[in-house]
Symmetry: C2
Subunit: 324 residues, 2 copies
């Protein structure tokens, strides 16, 4: 078996790619701008040139077992990218097939949260676990679910949209998905900023956050204020952690995971988020599951995580019909 895989993470701004060995060491990595080319064929050509340069520089041209790709709304079953929001390529796009034909190497693709879960299971905090849930707390709330040691793709390839579990059935916030009350509308980085704006409007306490123009407040501002002892900012994290805990207790009656693993910017908020989250999870937990479910932080280095997660999928990539 060839000793390396190639991981490619396609973000709205950058496409990061790296050569990874079987132990999860990123041998070398590089990136290109995702949006430079309006035509996806030109993008794949540039990706190919840059990847080949990296492979040549690392004596790895004939050593890639497979390519794993993490991309928004990518379907593992079909290899298609179904929808793109900030990237102008036409969808649905048979991306896995296009990349595999260009490189002559087997390709597997999935969405970024699933890639993170596979990365965590292969190289990170979920090593040895057969049942866990990965929650990514970034601009949105993503999830990758592992049951019986396998990623859950569901009937159509789109399972694991836990950020769109309804947490507020009445008077909930509008979510990017068009519905109201989704977990993501409260517990993503943007959700935290919305909570800040809401709290500042309906409450009267003094807060350092009142010195920031209300529309430009970010979750980072809330974090900084809370770390500096701002009570209102700390309560915003309480509110966020409380909802996450309620959601995690519901996820547990579904799949009874060994752990729920957090990844992404907000996950680095330390006890500001973790204490209320764990308290709320245990308080809301069905008795038979109390004290059983760990809440852990990702063990993947953030700079490497996206590439590592995508790369792990490369080990299970299958050749196209007719491909060597």
């Amino acid at each position: 078996m060839k000793p390396y895989v190639l991981g490619i993470d396609i973000g709205g701004t950058n496409t990061v790619f790296g050569i990874v060995d079987a132990r999860g060491v990123v041998i070398a990595s590089s990136s290109i701008k995702t949006l430079k080319h309006a035509d996806v064929k030109d993008y794949i050509d540039e990706l190919y040139e840059n990847v080949m340069r990296l492979l040549e520089a690392n004596d790895a041209v004939e050593k890639i077992h497979g390519i794993g790709i993490g991309a928004p709304n990518a379907n593992y079953y079909t290899g298609m990218i179904e929808k793109l929001v900030n990237i102008p390529w036409p969808t649905p796009l048979p991306f896995a097939q296009m990349v595999s034909e260009k490189f002559g190497i087997p390709v597997a693709i999935t969405n970024d949260a699933n890639a993170a879960a596979i990365g965590e299971m292969t190289y990170g905090a979920a090593r040895g676990m057969k049942n866990f849930i990965m929650i990514t707390l970034g601009t949105g709330v993503g999830s990758g679910i592992v049951i019986n040691g396998q990623l859950v793709y569901g009937h159509d390839g789109f399972a694991g949209e836990l950020g769109h579990t309804i947490m507020k059935r009445n008077n909930g916030r509008l979510c990017g998905c068009g519905r109201t009350g989704c977990l993501e509308a409260y517990c993503s980085a943007t959700g935290v900023a919305r909570t800040a704006r809401e709290f500042l409007e309906v409450r009267n306490e003094p807060s350092a956050l009142r010195n920031i123009p209300v529309e430009s407040i970010t979750s980072k501002d809330v974090y900084d204020a809370a770390v500096n002892g701002d009570r209102l900012a700390a309560e915003i994290f309480e509110y966020t952690g409380n909802i996450l805990g309620e959601a995690f207790a519901d996820f547990t009656v579904f799949s009874s995971p060994e752990a729920i693993i957090l990844f992404g910017g907000l996950a680095k908020s330390g006890d500001l988020l973790m204490r209320p989250l764990k308290e709320s999870m245990e308080k809301n937990m069905m008795n038979m599951f109390k004290g059983k479910v760990k809440v852990l932080l990702s063990e993947l280095k953030e700079a490497d995580a996206a590439v590592l997660g995508a790369s792990a999928l490369g080990w299970e990539a299958k050749p196209l019909p007719g491909q060597a």
Copy 2:
């Protein structure tokens, strides 16, 4: 391979058992009273005698490949019955091992809702499906979840408690599990009766249900009234179906099932329940899943279903160490 399995379903009143062939035909069945013996050893002795009589009468003594048991709070991983509510045997009880030692045949055990899911996958509406959710609407709301063709037992063997998903976060009804707002408190047969009492108290419309002493109203009374054109009774089904639909939409973002399959007394309410349920499910569904998830009724005959479901587990039962 031996041609038959034995299915045993342990209910609070009766223990039903039957000989089943590979195509799901119940060759013969019988039952004993579950509560006759305070000592579980005496119960197993009586079960053994009655099963042997059935096997002898059907020339099946040496033809049983395995025994599958459906029992409340049974753990597939450990073979234990963890908790019993209306049965006086001490728990945790190593039930699979006790039965296997008595019969000298491999035994597998799981809870009744999981057994129903396995039965449906092996012989019923879920044949050929790799991703579906079984929901049993009886005294409680049970569930068995199948993902990638496998029952979901979770880290500890207790996954699939979807009846205890929180549907009302504020002012929810007290549930048997000790928390408030669970799906089961609204959408079980007893939940429907509670809704009836609530509606009759807070509303003024005339209803045939007002002729029944309020504490003795059952879901069957509500069904009968609705079938006879009672508006209030029909609205009770609307209310029930609406909550089930909200829950099913949330289950879908988790595992994206091909179908959700209903079993149990309430499931036989026809369009009184199914119309509002399907409408609510589609209304609350995330766009990417709209129109994709079927809601089906169990295809197992009710008299056979419990034994069939349990029996299907018998095909995968493993011998105890040292057993032939």
